[in-house]
C-alpha cells in the first residue's frame, strides 16, 4: 500500500479584484482561480495535472507551495497543515518542497553564475557547509542532470533553453526535496529537448524517490510521465484517475472532449477520427456557472446540473469523477 505524503482538502485560491470597486467598503468581486480542489499524493508517484489555459493549474501549483495566499482549505504535508504554518516555519519546510518553472531562462537570475544559482538553496538551508563542500555538491548535481561541471562559472544567457531547464532541475533537486512541482517544465522547449528533459526527470525521480506533480497542457507528455492524472476545468477538479483508466476510459464529458482532440501520429487514423468539439467559450472565473461549472458547454447537460456542485466521487478504485450524471 502506498503511503500518502500530501493531502489537499478543498483548496480555494480566490483573488479579490480591488480595482473593480469604487469605494473601499464595498466587497470586491473575486476571481476564483482554484475553487475547491481535493487530492491525495502518494510517495514516489507522479501526478499529472492537465487542463486548458486559465483553468488554474499553475495557481494550484503555486498555492501548494504557498507562493500565493490561500483563501480556504488545508494542505496536509506529512501530517502537518502547511496553511496554518508561520512564515519562518514555512520557509524551513521549503527544503522538502521544490519547484521547476515554465520559462527556463526567466527563472534564472541573469547576474549570477549557474554555480551560484544551483547553490542558492544550499546557502539558504545549509549555511554550515563550507564553500568547497557546496562546490563539490553543485558539481555532482550538475553531472547528474547532464551538464558539464566545468561550465560552473558561466552565466544563464550562455546556455540553451534545454540546458537552462537542466539548471533549474539541478537547483530544485540539490537539497534533496521529497516533492517537486513542475509547472509546465517542457512547454517552452522543442519536442526533442522535451523528451530529454522528461526522461531526465523520470530517471532522477526513480533514483531519488521523489514525488512529482507534473503540470502540462500536452496530454501525451503527461501520459508518458504520470502515474495518475488530474483533469481541471475552471478551477475545479473534474476527473482524477490512473493513467491507463483515464486515457482508455474517460468518464467526464470534458475529459472525453479533451482526449478526442489529441492528435494521433497516423495520418489515416487522424483523418477518420472525430473531435467532439465543445461549443462556446470558457466562462469567466469571476462569475462561474452555478452547480457544475462545465454545464454551459457540456453536450450531455441536464436541468439538474445547475442544482448543486458535483464532488469528486470514486466510481472504482482508480477512478474519481465529478459529474452529477455519472454518480
Amino acid at each position: 500500500m502506498k503511503k500518502p505524503i500530501m493531502e489537499v482538502i478543498d483548496l480555494k485560491v480566490h483573488f479579490p479584484l480591488t480595482d473593480k470597486v469604487s469605494f473601499p467598503w464595498q466587497t470586491p468581486p473575486t476571481l476564483k482561480a482554484v475553487d475547491g480542489v481535493s487530492l491525495t499524493l502518494y510517495e514516489g508517484e507522479t501526478l499529472g495535472i492537465v487542463g486548458e489555459s486559465g483553468c488554474g493549474k499553475s495557481t494550484l501549483a503555486r498555492a501548494l507551495l504557498r507562493l500565493l495566499p490561500i483563501t480556504d482549505g488545508n494542505i496536509i504535508w506529512l501530517g502537518q497543515d502547511l496553511v496554518t504554518l508561520g512564515k519562518q516555519a514555512m520557509r524551513r519546510k521549503r527544503q522538502e518542497l521544490q519547484m521547476i518553472f515554465q520559462d527556463p531562462l526567466a527563472s534564472l537570475n541573469p547576474r549570477m553564475t549557474i554555480g551560484e544559482i544551483i547553490a542558492e538553496p544550499l546557502r539558504t538551508f545549509k549555511p554550515e557547509l563550507s564553500r568547497d563542500e557546496v562546490t563539490a555538491k553543485v558539481r555532482h548535481m550538475m553531472e547528474k542532470v547532464g551538464l558539464l561541471p566545468n561550465v560552473i562559472n558561466r552565466y544563464p544567457h550562455e546556455f540553451s533553453g534545454g540546458q537552462c531547464q537542466r539548471i533549474g532541475i539541478a537547483r530544485a533537486l540539490i537539497i534533496e526535496p521529497k516533492l517537486v512541482i513542475c509547472d509546465e517544465p517542457v512547454s517552452a522547449l522543442d519536442v526533442s529537448i522535451q523528451a530529454q528533459v522528461v526522461n531526465l526527470l523520470k530517471e532522477l525521480q526513480a533514483e531519488m524517490g521523489l514525488s512529482l506533480i507534473f503540470i502540462a497542457h500536452d496530454l501525451s507528455v503527461v501520459k508518458h510521465i504520470s502515474d495518475r492524472v488530474l483533469v481541471m476545468y475552471l478551477g475545479n477538479a473534474v476527473e482524477l484517475a490512473d493513467k491507463q483508466a483515464l486515457y482508455s476510459n474517460p468518464q467526464h464529458p470534458y475529459t472525453k472532449a479533451l482526449l478526442s482532440a489529441v492528435p494521433i501520429p497516423d495520418p489515416q487514423q487522424e483523418k477518420n477520427k472525430t473531435i467532439n468539439l465543445l461549443v462556446g467559450d470558457l466562462p469567466s472565473p469571476i462569475n462561474p456557472p452555478s452547480g457544475c461549472v462545465f454545464r454551459t458547454r457540456c453536450p450531455e447537460t441536464k436541468d439538474s446540473c445547475s442544482q448543486c456542485k458535483p464532488e469528486l466521487v470514486s466510481i472504482n478504485k482508480q477512478h474519481q469523477v465529478a459529474c452529477t450524471l455519472i454518480n
Partner: protein, 307 residues
C-alpha cells in the same frame, strides 16, 4: 591539416576539466563601454579635471585666501592671466588667484556632485527597492511620503536651512541630498515592480530565501545598471544645483568657493575682466559635458536593448 589540428585543440579544451569562465553581463557591458570613444574620452578628461583640482594648488605660489596687494592696485592690467606674475588664470576683483580658486571651487563642486549622488543612490535605491518589493499599503504610504517631500519648494527649503543654521557646506549636502534621492527612489521602485514578478524572484522565494536576501541578492544587482546610469547623470545635476545655490549667494562661505560662486562673481565684472568668468565657466561646462557623455556611454553599454 590545419583544420584538424584546430579541431584537436578544441577537443582538448573541451575534454580538460579546467573550468570555463563565463562572461557576465557586466563584462559584456564593460566591453561595449570601452568601445565608446566619447565616453572614454570623457572619462579621461574627468580624471584629469579631478587630478588638477586636487593637485593644482600645490603648483601655485598662491593660496586661495591670499590677496595679491600688488595686483589689487590695477586688476584689469596686473590681474590679467600671465605666467610671469604667477596668476595663470588671472586674479579676481580682490586680487585673489583665480587658478587656485578655480581648483578649490572644483574640489567643492565635484565633492558636492559625487557625494550628493552617492547619498541619492544609497537612500533612493534602498527606499525604492523596499517600497516596490513589499508593495501594498506600505508601498502606498512610502510613495505618498515621497510625494509630500517632493512637493516642498526646494529653494524655500534651502533658504530656511541657511537662515536657521547659517551658511555651511554641510548644509548644502543636507539640502541637496534631501531632494535628490526622491527621483532615484521612484525610478528604482518602478524597476523593482517590473522585476519582482519575474520567475527567478519566485524561484528564490520557493527556495526559501528571505525577503531581505531577495532584495539584496536578486533585485539590487539587477537594478544596478539603471542606478549607475542615473547616478552618473545625477552628478552634473548636483553640480548645477550647487552652482545655482552659490550663484544666489546661499552656497559655500567665503573665503572658500565653488564654481557656481566664482561664476557669480565673474559675471559682475565680465565686461572688464572676462577671465574671472571664463575660467570657472570653462571648467564647469567641460565637467558637465563629460558627465553627460559618460552617462550616455554607460547607458548604451548597460542597456543595449534601449538604444
Amino acid at each position: 591539416m590545419f583544420m584538424s589540428s584546430k579541431l584537436q585543440t578544441v577537443d582538448a579544451l573541451i575534454s580538460t576539466d579546467a573550468d570555463i569562465d563565463g562572461r557576465s553581463l557586466w563584462q559584456d557591458a564593460r566591453r561595449r563601454f570601452f568601445a565608446n570613444h566619447a565616453a572614454i574620452a570623457s572619462l579621461i578628461i574627468l580624471a584629469c579635471i579631478t587630478c588638477i583640482s586636487l593637485l593644482g594648488p600645490l603648483f601655485s605660489q598662491w593660496h586661495y585666501e591670499d590677496i595679491d596687494w600688488e595686483a589689487l592696485s590695477d586688476i584689469s592690467l596686473l590681474g590679467r592671466p600671465s605666467i610671469e606674475s604667477g596668476h595663470y588664470f588671472g586674479t579676481d576683483t580682490l586680487g585673489r588667484d583665480i587658478f587656485v580658486r578655480t581648483m578649490q571651487g572644483g574640489q567643492i563642486s565635484l565633492l558636492v556632485g559625487i557625494l550628493g549622488s552617492f547619498v541619492a543612490v544609497v537612500i533612493g535605491t534602498l527606499y525604492g527597492a523596499i517600497s516596490g518589493y513589499v508593495g501594498g499599503r506600505i508601498d502606498n504610504l512610502m510613495m505618498r511620503f515621497l510625494e509630500i517631500l517632493n512637493s516642498f519648494p526646494f529653494m524655500f527649503f534651502v533658504i530656511i536651512l541657511m537662515t536657521v543654521f547659517g551658511r555651511h557646506i554641510f548644509l548644502i549636502f543636507v539640502a541637496i541630498g534631501a531632494i535628490s534621492w526622491l527621483d532615484m527612489a521612484r525610478i528604482v521602485r518602478g524597476q523593482t515592480l517590473a522585476l519582482k514578478n519575474k520567475e527567478f524572484i519566485e524561484a528564490a522565494h520557493a527556495c526559501g530565501v528571505s525577503g531581505l536576501q531577495i532584495i539584496l541578492r536578486h533585485i539590487i544587482p539587477n537594478l544596478l545598471g539603471i542606478v549607475v546610469v542615473y547616478a552618473t547623470l545625477l552628478v552634473p545635476n548636483m553640480i548645477i544645483l550647487e552652482s545655482f545655490i552659490s550663484f544666489l549667494g546661499l552656497g559655500v562661505q567665503e573665503p572658500m568657493t565653488s564654481w557656481g560662486a566664482l561664476i557669480s562673481e565673474g559675471a559682475i565684472t565680465m565686461e572688464i575682466a572676462v577671465w574671472q568668468l571664463a575660467w570657472p565657466l570653462a571648467f564647469l561646462v567641460l565637467t558637465l559635458f563629460c558627465f553627460n557623455f559618460l552617462g550616455d556611454g554607460l547607458r548604451d553599454a548597460l542597456d543595449p536593448k534601449d538604444r
